[in-house]
């Protein structure tokens, strides 16, 4: 599979929204990800055409770091308080997983652990790795990195799982004196972390993986 032509070399540009292939976009073909050759609108859907997502590195880094900062209180602070006649219990994400395991649902405990802990951590590590390696123009494991990015995009929103659990339990458990569930600030930080990591993976441009100096085939 030699000499697979790339759109940037042929002076072509694909609209990110509708997929239309456009030609003769003015501007040079520098590929530093800052959206050179812009200010042209797609003739079909009107979206501004970019060779690469504008300021992809800066935006992705900013969103990823912000998400990471929020991820700390999201895990340290409790996300939910369960109170009954004789005790008050504040749950963090992790203690919720442990409780689920003890309650006899190891399968669900594993699912919640994956969605709430593994997926966000994987996103931080994966996007961080992709950012660093692409900024260095590394030719290392490009196909695998491209697959990693698609995995991150595919599973990212499943982290919202625990937020929905807290919301549903809050609405359900309201036997006033006997017991109640109320959300605690951790769940807000957690929800924001999920949104920010989703925005971070969206602002990363996977084409940057292939823009390095080394030829790949």
């Amino acid at each position: 599979m030699s000499a697979l032509p790339r759109a940037s070399e042929l002076g072509l540009i694909a609209c990110t929204v509708c997929g239309l292939v456009c030609r003769n976009v003015p501007g040079d073909a520098r590929l530093d990800g800052d959206g050179v050759g812009d200010d042209m609108a797609c003739p079909r859907c009107g979206t501004t055409l970019h060779r690469r997502k504008p300021n992809s590195y800066v935006r992705t880094w900013a969103l990823l770091i912000a998400a990471f900062i929020l991820y700390i209180p999201a895990n340290v602070l409790p996300i939910m308080r369960t109170a009954s006649l004789n005790d008050v219990d504040d749950n963090t994400i992790i203690s919720g997983v442990v409780e689920l395991w003890r309650a006899g649902s190891p399968n669900l405990a594993v699912i919640v652990f994956t969605a709430s802990i593994v997926v966000p951590v994987l996103k931080f590590l994966a996007l961080g790795t992709l950012l660093v390696s692409s900024q260095q123009g590394s030719g290392w494991a490009r196909v695998q990195r491209a697959k990693l990015y698609r995995l991150v995009e595919l599973i990212g929103y499943w982290s919202m799982l625990d937020v929905f659990v807290v919301a549903l339990l809050t609405a359900l458990v309201r036997f006033s004196v006997l017991s109640l569930v109320e959300p605690l600030p951790g769940v807000i930080f957690f929800g924001l972390t999920v949104v920010l990591t989703m925005l971070a993976s969206m602002s990363f441009d996977p084409r940057l993986i292939w823009d390095g100096k080394d030829t790949d085939d």
């Binding site: 759109a7 997929g19 689920l100 491209a146 929905f164 919301a167 989703m198 996977p206």
Partner: protein, 205 residues
Amino acid sequence: MGMSSPEALLICEHCDTVYRRRTLTRGDVARCARCEAELERHHALSVNAMLALILTAMIVFVQANMWPIVTLGLSGQQSSTTLWGMILAMWREQAQVVSVLVAATLFFFPLLKMLLLGWLLWFARAGRRAPGFVRLMVILHYLGPWTMSEVFVLGALVAIVKAHTYFDVTPDPGIYAYAALTLLITIFAGVDLRRLWDDVPEGAA
């Protein structure tokens, strides 16, 4: 600026490789030779079939939102909630951010997505572009990842198991409606909606 005939070329969104489009037959998936991303797949569903699916999804969605999801029982008292019960509960409990997230990802965005698709497909059935076609297609593109009904089904399952330790838990019709909705979403997930740009040519509005 010139435009190369849009049907002839295809550019991989993930690595920028240019391909000549080939005709796909049933079950075909075109993959990028450089990055192995999916380029295009055969359109298995006709516009009519998609419209039928969307209309079904809308009916199920109304049920999923009107019917209670789960009922808890404790010493004679009962408590159940709908999706909007969740949204209001989070709002009252000083978690407005979560309330807005739940409302957006489980109610407004899925609803908007289905309404837009229904509208676009209704006209596409007659080979026409719906009024507002271009703008609505762009909105639909951006709505993509922000609908999370399928995550909610799993979340409800977890909540049921958690509550089961202390309460009598009865799943209500709403949760089954959500499960059905997830099934419909899964069927629809394989459809590349961008095909509407080609299926319904310009000037047919």
